[in-house]
Symmetry: C2
Subunit: 218 residues, 2 copies
């Protein structure tokens, strides 16, 4: 019987890791679960270009690999996918890849490129972290295209979670994804509603503007 899992059969820790999460799309599924549990269609929205067949195959493989877990409650249509502790331990891998992407594979959003609010916000927090020099705790509540996100600095670095913040944030930004893109890449305020006290709002604007400066190529 053919082995249905692609292996390398090297005695090598990196190869062992890649056997579990190295398939096409796998790490991007994990990326989208790092901000919180998601449903199948939530993942479809974010993983632009994936087919439902491939997504369900990946989800099953990642479940077998012990990286994600599935919550099915009887009497409920929705199925929720979330990271296991082993899956959450992949965060440093995703962070390192993102950092390398910022340093060496940056380019502006392309016209034909699907742009999901969650990915834009991930880029923002990663860029601010790379620019460094920002270790003050803070909480920004984004409401983009009707969905909520919380960007949070815990005193060491910024991270992102999906969903409405349990406690009030310092700054609340309500906009469309497109309007936020315009703020970041063109400095345009049109269509944005930014509320909060003067200090935090000023800091927000300052840090957002670093997004454009931290990267060298266009």
């Amino acid at each position: 019987m053919a082995r249905n899992v692609r292996t390398y059969d090297h005695f090598c820790l990196t190869a062992r890791a890649l056997e579990r999460v190295g398939d096409r799309w796998s790490l991007l599924v994990i990326r989208d679960l790092l901000t919180g549990a998601k449903r199948f269609t939530d993942l479809m929205d974010r993983l632009g270009g994936i087919t439902p067949k491939t997504l369900s195959q990946r989800l099953r493989e990642l479940e077998d690999a012990g990286v994600i877990a599935v919550d099915r409650e009887p009497g409920r249509r929705e199925v929720w996918y979330r990271l296991t502790p082993a899956g959450a331990d992949l965060r440093p891998v995703l962070d390192a890849l993102g950092r390398w992407g910022l340093q060496h594979a940056w380019r502006r959003p392309q016209a034909d490129e699907p742009l999901h609010a969650e990915h834009l916000l991930r880029s923002v927090t990663q860029a601010i972290n790379l620019a460094a020099g920002d270790h003050e705790p803070a909480r920004w509540h984004f409401r983009l295209d009707g969905a909520d996100y919380l960007a949070e600095n815990d005193g060491s670095q910024w991270s992102l979670t999906a969903g409405a913040p349990p406690a009030p944030a310092d700054v609340t930004i309500t906009a469309t994804t497109r309007a936020l893109t315009a703020l970041i890449f063109a400095g345009s305020d049109a269509g944005l509603d930014i509320t909060g006290e003067t200090g935090p709002v000023r800091r927000f604007r300052r840090l957002i503007s670093t997004m454009a400066t931290v990267v060298h190529p266009v």
Copy 2:
């Protein structure tokens, strides 16, 4: 014309990075270049199971991606592949994957699994780094199956390079890969020649023994 490069077309730094180094085998090629420049056949030896076709394809893609460079000198048969600075910046990615592999995808060498000396030594240095608590500079010279490697602690962590050390090392270990495997996983000294002063040799033995303890499953 069909695009010959697999893309995701997401506005996402992680996806951008994976478009360049996320193909099957790509990160393992980079893994083997992190310890120094290699020839085509050196890479074939280490990437057990890869076909020459796939390797040459990957090498060309990675060159196009700006991650590796090719040295062809006129009048010399050999072609040497090495990392560019952008390629070397992938080290944190490989380190993070290796660390995750050590935590969650560990298993002993399998009988049918090719075991290359360089990969065994990489596992050793990664395991010692994860066990931590070892920040004394040191240099170990391995001569395994006739090839030289230098494992070196620069005061913060252990790293590995292929090739004979330019300066004398604290400990010199001469053995076959199989004999070193037996030392690590069974504590057997047979077929090993370990030379050096008493202190460094004792430290070597102590740290090697942590390799078996740092991992939970067999």
